[in-house]
């Protein structure tokens, strides 16, 4: 669940009567019973207002140097006018590219915003490319090639599919709140064997590791998570994965529709509702000097039905993406230690936390 875009969207929607009115009339909402067709559903869904493709991963170079990365492509629909000009804005494309140099104790991140324009950003099912400028993900049958050219670093990664795509939630939708349409279509590749290269400053690292990919599309009129959310992807060393999220309300309560998914070694999925798991801050915090937000960077997670009890901690506390365009959030590589039915269990993953910084949805840029 990557609902942060709701925050981003608010910025564009303020006073943007075009987008608001367009929403009601022109878009579909995520409804139960959606029939998924792959590979078609890996690509664009212009009938839905918001969509994103989200890659995160933990990598290690042959010399032991450890990295985390994030490459995300967002699409936010602005209008569905029949204007034929390539410069007319039907969708805004945002993208985030981040590199966690865990061994080097530094976090690098960039963002960009584009219109589709004459080939500047978009999703092309024929060529299999999802791109924003020179950041792109190219889909092949069992693999995806990622490329991100940053000011300070470049990444070139080849992601091999290890398990079939997972559809989260129930009956084809992942619910966020009570009521029709307050849900998304949410697909993940939970284990992607990754190899490639990272260029940072003047060094080139050959890296290997595992990645995770989320793809979500929906139409929502309101920011339903009024105080932010916490999201976890865990890739455990027994070849299983967990995705968990909790939506926080302003009054401190947790949205009952918060949920998760367990993927076993064979790729079979189990839906986890809020009562099936617990996910609580573990006391350790990190305060951002930029957004002034205080993030809980250690978590205790337990899923009693699976006999899983693990501790989630980060090797690099500062993995906050401060944004000039949208809200700032923390998205970073994590280490997992714990046990399953008494047997030690380890793993890596990614943690996302939003709504801890200055006024939710506001940019930290001066």
């Amino acid at each position: 669940m990557r609902n942060r875009l709701a925050g981003l969207i608010t910025i564009f929607l303020i006073g943007n009567s075009i987008a608001v009115s367009a929403w009601a009339a022109d878009y579909k909402v995520a409804l139960p019973g959606y029939h998924y067709q792959f590979p078609r559903d890996h690509f664009n869904h212009p009938d839905y207002q918001t969509e994103w493709w989200y890659y995160t991963g933990n990598l290690r170079a042959s010399d032991g140097h450890r990295f985390g990365f994030e490459l995300t492509f967002f699409r936010q629909s602005i209008s569905r006018d029949a204007n034929p000009s390539p410069w007319h804005i039907h969708d805004l494309y945002l993208a985030h590219l981040a590199l966690s140099d865990i061994s080097g104790h530094r976090f690098y991140h960039e963002e960009r915003i584009s219109r589709a324009g004459p080939g500047m950003a978009g999703v092309d099912e024929n060529t299999g490319v999802i791109w924003n400028g020179n950041w792109q993900a190219q889909r092949e049958e069992d693999a995806q090639q990622l490329r991100g050219i940053g000011q300070e670093f470049d990444i070139q990664l080849n992601l091999k599919t290890q398990k079939p795509p997972v559809i989260h939630g129930r009956d084809g939708i992942s619910r966020k709140a009570e009521g029709v349409g307050h849900a998304s279509h949410y697909i993940s590749f939970t284990r992607l064997l990754t190899s490639g290269s990272i260029e940072l400053k003047d060094d080139t690292y050959k890296v290997e590791g595992t990645s995770w990919m989320d793809h979500e599309f929906f139409t929502e009129s309101l920011d339903l998570t009024d105080n932010g959310w916490d999201w976890l992807s865990l890739q455990l060393d027994d070849n299983t994965e967990l995705m968990l999220y909790r939506l926080r309300h302003k009054d401190g309560t947790i949205e009952p529709y918060s949920s998760g998914t367990y993927v076993d070694a064979q790729g079979k999925t189990t839906f986890l509702s809020l009562k099936d798991f617990s996910m609580t801050p573990g006391g350790e915090t990190w305060k951002s000097s930029q957004s002034k937000g205080t993030y809980p960077v250690r978590w205790h997670v337990s899923v009693p039905s699976l006999a899983i009890k693990v501790d989630v901690a980060t090797p690099l506390p500062n993995q906050e993406l401060t944004s000039a365009i949208g809200p700032s959030y923390w998205e970073g590589a994590i280490d997992i230690t714990g046990q399953r039915a008494g047997i030690p269990l380890h793993g890596v993953g990614y943690l996302e936390m939003t709504g801890y910084g200055v006024a939710h949805g506001a940019s930290v840029a001066p």
Partner: protein
Amino acid sequence: MASLSLFSRLIVRPARREPARSLLIVLAVALGVSVVLAIDLASSAAAGSFRSSMETLAGDNDLEVTAVGGVADQIVGQLAILPYSIRVSPRIEDHATVVASGETVPLIAIDVVAEANSHKDQQAQNQNVDSRKIETPKIDGFKHINDADAIWTTRQLAGKVGDKITLLINDQKRDYTVRGFVPESAQVNGNVVLMDIAAAQNATGKAGHVDRILLKVPEQPGFDVWQQKLRAVLPSGVELNAQGSQTAANRRMLSAFRWNLGILSYVALLVGAFLIYNTISVSVVRRRADIGTIRALGASRNTILAAFLAEAAVFGFVGAVLALPLGRLMATGAVRLLATTVDALYISSRPGSLSLSGESVVLALVVGIGVAVVSALAPAREASLVPPTEAMARGAREYTIRVERTRDAWIALALALAAALAARFPAIAGKPLFGYLSALLLIAASALAIPALVFWITSVASTTLRKFMGVEAMLASRSLAGSLRRTSVLVAALSTAIAMMTSVGIMVGSFRQTVTTWMDSQLPADLYLRPAGDPSADRHPTIALDLTDRIARLPGVESVSRFRAYEIQYEGLPVTLGSAETNLSRFYQSSGFLSRRPAKDVLKELLSPDAAIVSEPFANKHHAKAGDVLTLPLGEKLVKLRIVDIFYDYANERGYVILDRSTILRYLPDPSASNLAVYLAPEADLETVRNEIKASAAHSEVLIFSNRDIRHEAIRIFDQTFAITYALEAIAILVAVMGVAGALMSIVIDRRREFGLLRFLGAASSQIRKLILVEAGLIGILSNIAGVVLGVLLSLVLIFVINKQSFGWTIQFHWPVAILLGALTGVYVATVLAGIYPARIAQRLNPIEVVHEE
């Protein structure tokens, strides 16, 4: 201390005793310097500001991608996805006229969405840097992002956000809503309208194209490497240059114009120099006794020399300081005139702010002190040669230095021959240096020939004058011949000013006549249409496509010829590329070609593939001749064009390359026209057809000119263009006449004893008055004669050497008799008037007092 008291005795006291003399020198310096300064300030303000708002808003980029007819949209996408860390900023750059005020402002379109990234980058980079460095204005959020009527403007254009503004873009009026303001921090020069690219493509008719793509590349591995890498991915006809190369090209184009203007401004200074020389010479004579005393007391020659030079330097300094505010004031007037010229001949510009920089102050001081000291050199030397015995002589010695008039006349002849020789040399680096040398030699020759002329004319005239105007006239004539040197300097100064006026007058008049004749052949159509808005040499707004067809179908219309112009760069200089329907119409039918072949034959050849004709200024600048091959980027291709012939053209100085419409449409398939020429059927009535066209153009803002209108308009623009030269002449004349007045003043003071004696011997005061006025009149006549002769010679140099080498126009020599006669009479009358006040002073001299004084 000794030298100080010497300075005080020799210089300060006389200066105080004769405030008129000091004032005259200071004024001559001040006027001359202020003209130089005014032109310097005004020309940099008028010429330096073109496109600057485009460049200010272009931001900090390294390279720019351009193409004739625009860069295809897809190239923006192709560049954006290259695996390099470059920033890609597409731009549409056009002009819009604010209908309410009539002001034409740059219209700049940016990718509002992508610009949010640059803004963010800059914020990141400039966190600790001066925030004014942020060139690109931040567009508030993405509100109104798809509104075709959303604009962002400078504060002066609208009262508040939400205000409506009607803009004329090409030939269409459209209503826009101000959605925000360009922040002051962007430091835009003048007004500007910003739009999103989507809205601008729609408004300017540039769908599918942008005008420029700006690129910011990383520092590593170097600019040249990036240029090569990027060049490799672009089609051959698309150009990749360092950012601002257009501006650089424009500056190069304007440099010759500014240079010539600068030279012209120094003529006023030259006239000033003659006067300073004269005034100081007179004062040296008056101070001979003082000089002799000081020499007798032991001062060396060098001390005397230094004292007089120091005096000149002080006068120069004071004059230069006075020239600063005066020049600034003159510049205010000049800048408007100059901007008009630059607009008409070269490029859209808007006068920048006039700034009196440190450089201008240094220029004024150097020129002011320099001209004063140089003018004082000869008189100061003369002063240093005064023997100490002079102090012992009783009474002041008269002004009796001999003038070697015969020797000087021979030198003058030699200089004139050298001038004729210099006129035959070609330009150096595009600048007619030898042309100016030739002009300078002519002026020097004339100055040296003047003593002989004055002597000869006055001696011939004195008897005649006596017969017709009485004894006073004869005395006046003799007196002029007697103080030959002083008279010669005065005549030289005034005649140089007159010569300048005459030569420029002849050149402009000839040019005007040439253009008029040329228009007879060049404008054969009955009606002409162009989009409304300010005309400028580098703007080519287009006319709605369907209008052409509607007009062609109107009864009474025989044919419509479409002309389309594009701005291109050739060899680093801006050029206008045009396409005309040469087959269909009578366009250029009667044009004159350098080859003197009949137009019909040339135009037939122009119809063959990839043929071109070029204008004379183009050929001149780029050393092109018939048969040469030009390689031009057209669309995405590099096209080789064969020059069929060169045509005479006086429309602008940038130069034209003209193709047949069928040729250009193969490479640039945009059929819109910039101008239409309408030919009427023989029996059609002009006014009827004109009204019908007006009716069918109801939805377009086009101006319709009849053949007569357009000629009238062309001549009006022509006259506007040369207004500045008239202004410069007027100032030179003013300086000269002022000098004559001052000189006559000092003559009166100088000759007090003479006048006193005359009165003593029985002359009436009215006779003294007549004497002075006749002297003034004689100086006027002598100056007019010398000035006209010199002026005609200078005009030949201007027309056939300087103009030809700087601008490349062939001008037929023509006598603008009426204008010249008028101007010369004016100068004569002014000179006589200048004599009235000195005459009155002389009249009032008390003879007894004066004679006693001595």
